[in-house]
């Protein structure tokens, strides 16, 4: 059970409303979904949004295994795009070996959380990735 000393890595990861899941801003006019703070819908220009939950299971549409990244970024890691019931999510594939033999497009994955670290105030940041759903 998440406590007040946890904070999600990004605002669209929800920890305190049932099992961990992602939410998106869904355009109230056309249904387009976005994960960031919006000024308007990029598809239909409307300005009203509803908060919707995204399925936690999905299919890996594409990936890469990053071996070189900016200083401070741990490598190798698997970056990918997951199709969660029709909504595309950008994430890392975690809890599995980051090798080409082990990862393939079309594989089933599910949301998983992990600790990023505890800050000076004792607050734990929780991140998310997707792990093989076997």
């Amino acid at each position: 059970m998440p406590t007040v000393s946890q904070i999600p890595f990004v605002e669209y990861l929800v920890l305190d409303d049932g099992p961990a899941h992602l939410v998106a801003n869904e355009c109230a006019s056309c249904g387009a979904r976005f994960f960031d703070r919006r000024n308007a819908c990029a598809r239909c220009f409307a300005t009203e949004f509803d908060r919707v939950s995204i399925p936690t299971e999905g299919e890996l549409r594409t990936f890469t295994i990053v071996a070189f990244a900016a200083p401070g970024v741990e490598v190798p890691f698997v970056a990918g795009v997951i199709d969660c019931g029709g909504t595309s999510v950008r994430s890392n594939i975690i809890n599995t070996d980051p090798t080409p033999d082990n990862i393939h497009t079309g594989m089933s994955v599910r949301l998983a959380t992990y600790s990023i670290g505890v800050d000076a105030d004792g607050v734990e940041a929780i991140g998310f990735g997707f792990e093989p759903a076997g």
Partner: protein, 401 residues
Amino acid sequence: MSASDEIFILGINMTKFGKHPDKDVVDLAADAVQAALADGGVTMADMGILAAGNLMGGGGFGQSLQKQVGQTGIPVYNVANACATGATALRTVIMAIKAGECDMGLAVGVEKLSGAGLLSGGNRKADSDTWTPTGRFGAVAPVDGRLGTETMPGVFAQIGMEYGHRYGGVDFELFARISEKNHSHSTLNPLAAYTKAMSLEQIMGDLMIAYPNTRPMCSANCDGGAAAVLVSGSKLKTLSLEQQRRAVKVSASVLTTDPYEEACQVLPDVNTLTRNAARQAYEAAGVGPEDLDLVELHDCFATAELVHYDNLMLCEEGGAADFFNSGATWRTGSTPVNVSGGLQSKGHPISATGIANVWEVCHHLRGEAGDRQIEGAKVGLAHVIGLGSACGIHVLEKSAA
């Protein structure tokens, strides 16, 4: 001056791409500009507009250039559209001529990128002491490496792998073979930064940057510049027969950005905007992909070249792998792609590329490409794409003169 319908390239030049430690960006731009002006038999006095691109430098690049090559008080547009900057400079000059504001103009793009390393989001900042949500995602720490990747090789690797997910027939070896083709082509191009053939085994065994892109499958960071003099058809008729003979017709000049598609804000969609630009370009030029004698497209990574075969409609939808495997895109094939060596071996000084690939096509259309001449070339297409995104396509035709 009235609005003009026809646009020609009167003079054009690219510098050798590579390391130029003793030249600054203005030197490289001046080299390209002075050569392009000489190639066209004109001077700065004849230019009615200058569009200049240099992404890595500070502002006012066009003005800095003018102070070295000729200050005549003409309007300067300093342009930027990521890797489509060069095409944007061409587009800007063409628009001014079409609008009747001048009859001749200069487009230039230059970059110093030797030793630049990864073009990504720069250094990832260290996490701060306390978790504080910031930015549009309310992130408590920088997202690069935690939520996917910001690196270009990684982004374009995903773009190529996604094509495979949709259509199949795609693997690491296929992408490496595309790189093998371009490195082979580069051996005939003395202006390329790298002119070494590489075997499939060498390419696949080289340093992995972001699977499946190894180092030789990534565009080469280098220094370089390119410049073009554009002229209206009516002005061209008043010039010498030799100038008219070597002028290359710009049958289409198109710029698009990425329209909304699901997932486009999650992984850049380089497909829709390229297809849209290609459609507009073919329609404006009155040609189809089957009419193209050569194509210089944006192989920022080997994984990118594959998807653009499809986006530019060089093959049927979903058929890019089969198309490549048929040999069609080698210089000996039915649709030679990147006979210059492409960005992977010719190099990619970002702002110069959109003009340099037009130079390559012109070189063949004028019959001046020597050892690497595509015989009888009459129609060519140049394509660049900058992430964000912007796509520039020019269709060029041998002058009837």
